[in-house]
């Protein structure tokens, strides 16, 4: 039997539970440590434990395949961030602003764990609510609350879709454009003395293309979503009559 947050009723209780789970690290509570461990280690262990808890929650709610999809992009982003951060620190030491090596490493570890735990958490939160269910409930309302509800249901559905695009796009690109995404496939680069410049150009085009692809894939189904939400929230003539009588 699968535990599902989406089945927890009422919806405000589900929301409150999810907020409580994510509130501590997101509100700057980065000092949660395990008392009986020495300081830097306790900090890392506490973050790792929190990450594992979020992954387990994700696994129980969305299943193994979707959990992997939720985790793949955050891991890529977290590794990219930490590697870029380390490279930039070596290239431009003034960015360190006097921080010690240990302090900077600890910040990197914090950042890494926050990305691999809080991005899946954010995707889980968005997917724990049903846009269609919200749209159906909104159809029972009237006036300004109904208008607000229709817009809220559409916004929720669009955010769910953007999350799907985000988690699928990296995998799709890696499989469809290995030469573009993975420079090691570009054997022609090694013949040139300007290999590092090719890497810069690759980096620029990879980011630009990813941005454009993400935008196109995110906006493409908007008319369909708007139509679908409009259909689900449409009031029947009987409902209109009832509200007029009351």
């Amino acid at each position: 039997m699968r535990f599902s947050l989406a089945q927890l009723r009422p919806a405000w209780l589900r929301l409150a539970l999810l907020v409580a789970i994510g509130l501590a690290p997101m509100s700057g509570w980065s000092n949660f440590r395990i008392a009986w461990l020495p300081d830097p280690l306790s900090f890392v262990v506490a973050w790792a434990a929190y990450s594992v808890f979020i992954w387990l929650l994700t696994l129980l709610n969305v299943g193994f395949d979707r959990m992997l999809a939720f985790l793949s992009a955050p891991f890529v982003l977290a590794l990219t961030t930490c590697l870029l951060g380390a490279s930039m620190r070596k290239l431009f030491p003034f960015l360190a602003g006097g921080a010690t090596q240990e302090e900077m490493s600890l910040r990197m570890v914090t950042l890494f764990f926050s990305m691999i735990s809080l991005i899946p958490y954010a995707l889980l939160v968005v997917n724990s609510f049903s846009a269609a269910g919200l749209a159906r409930r909104v159809s029972q309302l009237g006036g300004a609350r109904r208008r607000l509800g229709v817009h809220g249901a559409l916004a929720l559905r669009v955010l769910q879709h953007v999350g799907e695009v985000f988690s699928e796009l990296l995998i799709a690109w890696r499989e469809e454009n290995p030469a573009r995404l993975l420079p090691r496939h570009r054997s022609d680069w090694h013949r040139s003395r300007c290999t590092s410049l090719y890497y810069l150009d690759w980096f620029r085009s990879a980011v630009a293309d990813w941005t454009l692809a993400c935008l196109v894939h995110s906006l493409e189904p908007l008319p369909l979503f708007a139509h679908e939400i409009g259909r689900l929230t449409a009031r029947s003539p009987a409902q209109d009559e009832r509200s007029t009588e009351s």
């Binding site: 602003g97 941005t211 939400i229």
Partner: protein
């Protein structure tokens, strides 16, 4: 209904676009994060979507996307920057939308995008050099920056502003003809 009123109406399609751009601004902020240890902040490309929102959707859409999207990303790893990001990026989207106006004149849009890029540099400098040190007296969580750290971050923020302005303008040229509202009628 006049064409002007029609443009000003906040339709279901506008909500869809704003929600999509909020998600993309958050993801764009997460995509390339280059941490700057001096301020514990980071360099990112989320401004591309904030400037795009201002150019495409106007001041209100720009403000909502700028204030909400990057703030969500800041909550993941950099919560101390939430107030600075909310105000600075919100103002960035708002100013871009106000200056860009409703027309399609490229020069005006370019000026708007440039002002948006400059807003990041000025906004974060004010927060990091003056507001955060003042807040840190009462709230230790804001004790992350000072004048020296704010000066260090001027250069990465300028690069971020230039990339955001250029990228936002390029994306606006690509998508400005797209009207999801037209397809839903």
């Amino acid at each position: 209904m006049s064409a002007r009123d029609k443009r000003k109406r906040w339709t279901l399609a506008t909500t869809g676009l704003v929600a999509a751009l909020i998600g993309l601004a958050a993801l764009g902020t997460l995509l390339i994060r280059i941490p700057i240890p001096a301020t514990t902040g980071y360099f990112n490309i989320g401004d591309v979507f904030v400037i795009l929102a201002g150019l495409w959707l106007g001041p209100l859409g720009g403000f909502v996307v700028g204030a909400v999207g990057p703030t969500i990303a800041d909550a993941i790893g950099f919560p101390q920057f939430i107030p600075a990001t909310f105000v600075t990026k919100g103002c960035e989207g708002l100013l871009v939308g106000l200056i860009a106006g409703q027309g399609a004149a490229l020069r005006r849009k370019a000026v708007a995008a440039a002002v948006g890029g400059a807003t990041i540099v000025v906004g974060y400098f004010i927060f990091e050099a003056y507001i955060y040190p003042a807040l840190a007296v009462r709230f230790p969580v804001f004790a992350v920056t000072d004048m020296g750290a704010a000066l260090v971050e001027l250069l990465p923020n300028t690069v971020q502003g230039i990339i955001g302005a250029a990228g936002g303008l390029a994306l606006w040229k690509t998508v400005s003809g797209y009207d999801p509202g037209a397809s839903t009628k």
